[in-house]
Symmetry: C2
Subunit: 170 residues, 2 copies
């Protein structure tokens, strides 16, 4: 289900490196080296992040890229929006009128609500958490009875460990 593009994934890896040493600018070549992603690709990612306002660039010799603001103020939504554009879950979210079914379709509203729910969830995950440096909490099993609200709180607190996902939630 629901996939983010590979480039978006790369973006978080690159941003993680930038977050680690936020003081100095890093050239695309340096970042390519640090992340083991091909230079042209890193370059493409950085340009998108720059346009999205997540990194600041300085040209010329000794130039490079830096985070535009503290890692704690950059959320997963920001990264996805910068890399993939503010596209919605369905066509009708972003381009009303483009779907022939709008008259008969009664589920459009709902997808928009789901869309918002997802954005909210993504907004609560900061780059700081994406880099893994705040996940020091105890591993905690996800029980079937846990509500979304509890989960969101746990996610924010960093008490969930990834491996509990495997095999699916259902």
């Amino acid at each position: 289900m629901l996939r983010i593009s590979k480039l978006t994934d790369y973006a978080t890896v690159v941003l993680a490196v930038l977050a680690e040493d936020a003081a100095a600018p890093h050239s695309a070549a340096q970042l390519a080296d640090a992340t083991h992603i091909a230079l042209p690709t890193v370059s493409k990612v950085l340009k998108a992040l720059q346009r999205g306002g997540l990194v600041a660039s300085t040209r010329g010799a000794r130039g490079g890229y830096q985070l535009a603001r503290p890692a704690a103020n950059i959320s997963a939504v920001d990264v996805i929006d910068a890399m993939e554009g503010p596209v919605g879950l369905t066509e009708c979210v972003t381009h009303p009128g483009s779907c022939d079914l709008e008259a008969t379709c009664r589920s459009g509203d709902a997808w928009q609500r789901v869309n918002l729910a997802i954005r909210r969830a993504l907004q609560d995950v900061t780059l700081l958490e994406l880099t893994g440096r705040t996940t020091t909490g105890e591993a905690r099993a996800v029980t079937a009875g846990q509500t979304a609200a509890e989960f969101a709180a746990a996610l924010r607190a960093g008490t969930l460990r990834a491996r509990t996902i495997e095999g699916g939630v259902q």
Copy 2:
């Protein structure tokens, strides 16, 4: 950002019709007629839903499709999983080892957590809500300060209206 496929969207429209009259089986042709989606496409969608266990089929004359269980017990995740497979947000969620960066990449964990957060959010939206029949609540503006937890509660209660999304959450 994050898109569901058109077919998944169709699936909810088709399921909505099935939910409306859960007693009798509906043929693919009937459903195509009711939804204004082309027959071969409806057919494809229904086959996927059948494999996913969301609808039950009966062959032969007077056969057709019915919901396999009450609409309240079918969530958005179920629909997405049935239509698009249990693919994760990133490659490494579903196919560990397929990514060259796993050694250096420290954000994999986090995407998996985000993935889980999204699954949770989607799990709390039932087909009943997707059909729009439970969204009778008062429209309510989404303020910037609203937490994910509050949002999830509001979503469940159906007090959020879709149009509040437009222009983005940020």
